[in-house]
Symmetry: C2
Subunit: 242 residues, 2 copies
Amino acid sequence: MKSSGINSGQEDGSGEPNLNEQAYRRLRDALIGGVFLPGAKLSIRKVATALGTSAMPARTALRRLAAEQALDILPSGSAVVPRLSREAFGKLAAIRAELEPLAVRMAADNLASLDFVRLTALSDRQLRALADSDPETVLAADRDFLFTIYAACGSSILLQFIGSLWLRRSPLFWDARWMIMSRAGLPHRHAAMIDLLRAGNGAGAAATLREEIETATALLLEQYPFRGPQEGDGLATLAQRP
Amino acid sequence: MKSSGINSGQEDGSGEPNLNEQAYRRLRDALIGGVFLPGAKLSIRKVATALGTSAMPARTALRRLAAEQALDILPSGSAVVPRLSREAFGKLAAIRAELEPLAVRMAADNLASLDFVRLTALSDRQLRALADSDPETVLAADRDFLFTIYAACGSSILLQFIGSLWLRRSPLFWDARWMIMSRAGLPHRHAAMIDLLRAGNGAGAAATLREEIETATALLLEQYPFRGPQEGDGLATLAQRP
DNA sequence: GAGACGATAGTGTGATCACAAAATGAAATC
DNA sequence: GATTTCATTTTGTGATCACACTATCGTCTC
């Protein structure tokens, strides 16, 4: 991926991530890692304290995540981790089912042999984690696998949109991780996608992914207790994370 | 559209838009209206002066627009109006061709008779503006027509994504407005879409829209002088707009 | 004319503050 | 127990400032 000289204001002049960017990344990673439960309120001052910064970087990061749809804003102005209704989750999945296969199709001609080495390793890693009942690694390997493909699509906007969708539903997915773990057939599809992509069949790989998204969505729509109980806000855990 | 009690931090307690939101809307509308040329730099202090606020609302609005992909951020941290390459424009259109028909399909069952009255009026308005050689109204009627449909899709995220795509390519579209005006067949498709939607054929309307997006994209990819000359930054015009 | 250098102006970032609004908890009332 | 009221605390917003970095411009040298 070539750098276009355009970034998101993420580094100071020396190339180090500035405090805005560090706060954003830590919050983003915390969202992905299930630190916050759906419905958790994130106060600027409390996040700043947990991150060890003044209020400004926390505020900027929270507002950025809100603009990216990862967080909602209450009428009071407070940021809150989205609590997805069954309907909202279904619609989010419908958007994913359009955008992620598009990214696969766009990426198909750009994947190099090093990418395939990496994809194979990630697929294997997921298999092992599944056998080891390690949901965190299963979810991470899944994410890394798909984003390795998407990274080759050549569209930073498309990557951003997909990232937003993943962020938005991360808390729910983390909450549902044991349900997802019990689902059969997951690793075979990644291996199948690798084979299709190797064979130059981007459309086939895209269709396989679409089916995977739709299958996972149907499972969750059927089994996940939308609007389950919520406790705690996760800020103590945020302060402890690097 | 029902309010979910969740907003984007856009109003103070009394329901008035706060300064952040006012600055955001004015900048957004200025982007849509072609006030800024692609490549124009938007300094926080200059935008604040033009808007008549302190730096904070301007800064917040610029960062929000950047997070939404409407603006890019240079390595220096300055916000800049995106200058789309031919490739980037083509990819942006590919994303539109996935998301906007999805919105039409999702909206099809939710459109009410008042919506059709409005859609018909907007289609007629666009016809008149086309006859009157009034590009601003043509583009505005096109936008209002489509967003009237999309508003019924039931997904705030999808609306946000589509809005982001429209914002990002607005400066270019404004620049290309006379080229777009010369294109034949535009109003017939909106009338056809209305008929299809009335008949409950959301998939047909979505396919018609997809064809429209792809036709317009092909025209611009062929004829628009990507990386044309750029002058001025538009900040004086921003200060004058309400 | 091209490039390097230095001075100056402009710029974004992060910190901090004040204020008004929202949230919270306790006490009183029904 | 449920609701209302009130006092207090918390909270987001907007303003302002200082600082370090970036951009610009003018001058000098080759």
